[in-house]
């Protein structure tokens, strides 16, 4: 049931933000969705421009006993930014300034709405970049990266977001502003910064982030390897790592993925191959050339077809453009897709992939696989047409089967997209009630009353204070 915002809440927020509080019927709907298929509806949308405004919004929400939800670019895939329980949305997109770049200490202070790729583009001429590079890199925000502890192809060698965030200024759910973490290398005390990164907005709102800057590698080589059989591709992945090499990125695409990606980018992806590996090596020139030889010899032992080495930066960027646009390009087969995100042990890649195809067949769906093979992070995409009657039930059932297969193979629920709303009720597949109650205690230390992004991550019932409405959004499979 929808609770209409009471007039005082609107007036109080307007007194701080003026016309940057939105309550129009059409506009509210736009903040009910992220990049997933889930949909909810916020009670109000606030568009703050600085920390103090965020602080005041949180304070006013508390006074009116109303939860809040921080949103970045709204590209998440697990429904983390989908409003449940009629929250006030705090959209941080307008907080998009790069405040300070300190090359000497390799730190940049940025606001949460800065786009990931904008930051890297700003730093590139100075010889640095921000290492986490999700596929949505061109549009996802640093705040969103912090919330989800986002990964990306290059996180195989460089580590995920948590490794690249030194400190965070946070508005806590009680309305106070604090700094988590420290610019010092080994700050004393509990690593609360580490706790906040990946907390999916349930511990407060990040308002400034000190990110670590990574020097651009002196040499880069990008290889595209094609295989007549997806099994050979997967075996090559394990063999490369077993050979002692950790490439900067090690990505895999199956036949359907190759076809749709090639239709979008025309980069010469081999559409006749059963699978391709996109391998990137970086570092000092000598090491990189050695790496190329290792990859080549390993691949040759696994029935590789062609090995294409990108001749220049332009070709390299084109290949990556294909990889990074793969999800959206799925719409070339079917208008809707459900993108999954699980992790399995590298050695089980082939086994689980085969199960994924079988599951898709069983539910009469099309499966497309594009994933971070190097760290076993699967991204099976189920393509479908929501106009088909009853298709969503099949998609959800197939999704559950894929998650189950991954966990049975010794994997986990989510690699990088987060739990959000999508996998909230799957937590019990991986954690005992005791585990979840313990996690809830941690959350309660930050947010005892459950104001921050309520009803996400932990299933209802794992905490004693689910005090807000339980409106289940359309399309949710909770």
């Amino acid at each position: 049931m929808q609770i209409s915002p009471d007039g005082n809440l609107l007036d109080d927020l307007r007194s701080v933000l003026g016309d940057r509080v939105r309550d129009g019927d059409f506009e509210l709907g736009l903040y009910g969705k992220d990049g997933s298929v889930l949909e909810g509806r916020p009670s109000l949308v606030c568009l703050p421009v600085n920390t103090d405004e965020v602080r005041q919004i949180v304070k006013i929400c508390r006074e009116h006993d109303r939860p809040f939800l921080a949103r970045g670019s709204g590209t998440g895939l697990a429904g983390g930014a989908v409003p449940v329980g009629d929250p006030v949305i705090i959209a941080t997109a307008k907080m998009n300034q790069i405040l300070e770049v300190d090359l000497e200490n390799r730190i940049a202070w940025v606001e949460p709405g800065v786009l990931n790729l904008d930051l890297t583009k700003e730093l590139t001429p100075q010889g640095f970049h921000f290492a986490p590079d999700p596929s949505s890199q061109q549009v996802c925000s640093i705040g969103g990266n912090v919330a989800n502890n986002s990964g990306g192809p290059h996180c195989l060698a460089y580590g995920v977001t948590s490794a690249h965030v030194a400190a965070i200024e946070v508005v806590l759910p009680d309305g106070s502003v604090t700094l988590l973490g420290d610019l010092a290398a080994e700050p004393p005390g509990y690593d609360l910064r580490g706790l906040f990164v990946g907390s999916e907005g349930t511990m407060g709102v990040a308002t400034k982030v000190a990110v670590r800057l990574t020097p651009n590698p002196p040499a880069v080589r990008t290889l595209l390897l094609d295989f007549p059989d997806v099994r050979d591709g997967a075996a090559t992945v394990s063999a490369i790592i077993a050979a002692g090499l950790i490439p900067a990125a090690l990505e895999m695409m199956d036949k359907r993925a190759i076809e749709i990606v090639e239709a979008f980018v025309n980069a010469g992806y081999p559409t006749e191959a059963d699978a391709v590996l996109l391998v990137e090596l970086d570092g000092l020139p000598g090491g990189v050339e050695h790496g190329v030889e290792v990859v080549r010899s390993v691949a040759e032992r696994h029935q590789v077809g062609n090995i294409r080495v990108a001749a220049d930066n332009e070709e390299r960027e084109l290949l990556w453009k294909g990889r990074k646009n793969a999800f959206g390009a799925v719409a070339r087969i079917k208008p809707d897709y459900y993108l999954h995100d699980t992790v399995v042990p590298r050695g089980k890649l082939v086994e689980v992939l085969e199960k994924v195809y079988k599951i898709a067949d069983a539910y009469d769906l099309i499966a497309v696989n594009v994933f971070h093979a190097g760290d076993g992070n699967l991204h099976p995409i189920l393509a479908y047409d929501s106009d088909e009657k009853g298709v969503l039930e099949r998609v959800h059932a197939a999704g559950r089967a894929i998650v189950t297969a991954s966990i049975e193979a010794g994997g986990v629920l989510s690699g990088e997209h987060g739990i959000g709303l999508e996998k909230r009720d799957y937590m019990g597949m991986l954690f005992s009630a005791h585990d979840m109650a313990t996690q809830d205690l941690v959350r309660e230390a930050f947010d005892p009353e459950g104001f921050a992004n309520p009803l996400k991550v932990l299933p209802s019932g794992s905490r004693c204070s689910d005090s807000f409405g339980q409106h289940v959004p359309d399309g949710a499979w909770v």
């Binding site: 129009g24 059409f26 959209a91 549009v139 979008f264 719409a331």
Partner: protein
């Protein structure tokens, strides 16, 4: 807010083709300056979906739709190939026919574009006002001549489309284009007054019926089979779309004869004289209707490279904010969008700037950017090189 019944008439298949991944957001000029969902392609499509499923809109919806520049940068960015432009055109047309979206004074303005005599008269008045210095400089209008010298045909090999505003205010650009085309050995002819206006601005405004009438008239002014060259990216995109707009075989055939003048020249570079060294650097602003709609912006670089050292900008073809009539009706947003473009132009660090569209030229000039049509730059190099 008051509800208005509406039927946007957008095919369901098109509406659901957007999966709301958000990859269009950074490539949308209005999202870039507002960071608001309602000003993004993904947001606008979601709004259209909402309108179609409920059958109602409100004034807020109209404002959101009117705020789109229709640059179609989102189409280039979209991995799913969503055809945003046609959905926005359908929405604007539904608004113009079913609501009070286009007030009488705007309609009057658009009507003037298709009436060469009225436009010439209005331009002459404007020219006189310029001379007594009551027209603000920031409008960026070129010095409009009181007496227009006629364009003289030199043969029948190709047509050069002249258009409305461009012919009234920037005829010297046509002359420069004519000289460059003639340097390949081709003779140029000009259409009669039936080709008064291509109708692009009318389509953008949702005035579909007016646009279709203008299209039918324009087609009559180009008899024969000679190629029709266009030196305005916006007009070229529109003329190439007549087949789709009118849905007739005749219109399809007509559209196939249309080329951006740079496309045509790029095939004939060997017939042009080579430039003397050293070559000057030229920053190239890609007009959206060349890059995102016609997808033929590379031809501008090819032609410029024959005489200069062209440099692309680093903003991936983000719109400059001109958008035909957009910059007149949405001055604040248009100038914020333009600020980003100007920063990008500065980073390119070239002494000369080129743009192949009159709207972009005027919009950038009104902010003090010295920018010329690529073929004006080439014409002056050829004249100098003799």
């Amino acid at each position: 807010m008051k509800e208005i019944a509406i039927d946007l008439g957008i095919p369901h298949h098109d509406l659901v083709s957007c999966v709301s991944c958000g990859l269009c957001l950074p490539h949308c000029p209005t999202y870039r300056v507002t960071q608001e969902e309602s000003a993004s392609p993904r947001g606008r499509i979601a709004l259209m979906k909402h309108a179609e499923s409920s059958g109602f809109i409100d004034q807020e919806f109209v404002g959101f739709m009117d705020a789109c520049i229709q640059c179609r940068g989102c189409e280039t960015a979209c991995p799913a190939g969503v055809e945003f432009g046609s959905m926005m055109e359908a929405t604007r047309e539904a608004l113009a026919t079913q609501t009070s979206y286009q007030p009488w004074w705007r309609r009057l303005g658009y009507r003037t574009l298709g009436r060469p005599t009225v436009l010439a008269f209005a331009s002459r008045v404007l020219s006189l006002l310029q001379r007594i210095k009551v027209v603000p400089k920031k409008l960026g209008l070129p010095q409009i001549p009181i007496i227009q010298r006629r364009l003289l045909a030199s043969g029948t090999d190709v047509w050069l489309f002249t258009g409305c505003i461009m012919d009234a205010w920037m005829r010297d650009t046509h002359r420069a284009v004519q000289r460059v085309v003639e340097a390949t050995g081709a003779g140029v002819q000009f259409p009669n007054k039936a080709a008064a206006c291509c109708g692009a601005l009318h389509v953008h405004a949702g005035l579909g019926d007016e646009a279709r009438i203008l299209a039918e008239k324009t087609m009559t002014a180009f008899p024969g089979s000679a190629p029709i060259l266009v030196d305005s990216a916006g007009c070229g995109a529109q003329l190439k779309d007549y087949g789709h707009l009118l849905g007739t075989e005749l219109a399809e055939k007509f559209s196939r004869r249309v080329f951006d003048v740079h496309e045509w020249l790029a095939e004939r570079l060997d017939k042009l004289p080579k430039s003397q060294e050293p070559r000057g650097r030229v920053a190239v602003q890609d007009p959206c209707h060349l890059r995102h709609v016609q997808k033929s912006h590379q031809a501008v670089y090819q032609v410029l490279a024959h005489f200069t050292e062209p440099l692309g900008l680093d903003d991936e073809g983000l719109c400059c904010g001109a958008g035909g009539a957009y910059s007149a009706f949405h001055q604040e947003t248009a100038s914020q969008v333009r600020d980003r473009k100007i920063e990008s132009i500065k980073r390119a660090g070239a002494p000369e700037v080129a743009s192949a569209n009159p709207g972009c030229l005027l919009h950038l000039r009104s902010a003090g950017v010295e920018v010329r049509h690529p073929l004006e730059i080439i014409d002056s190099i050829m004249t100098k090189d003799g």
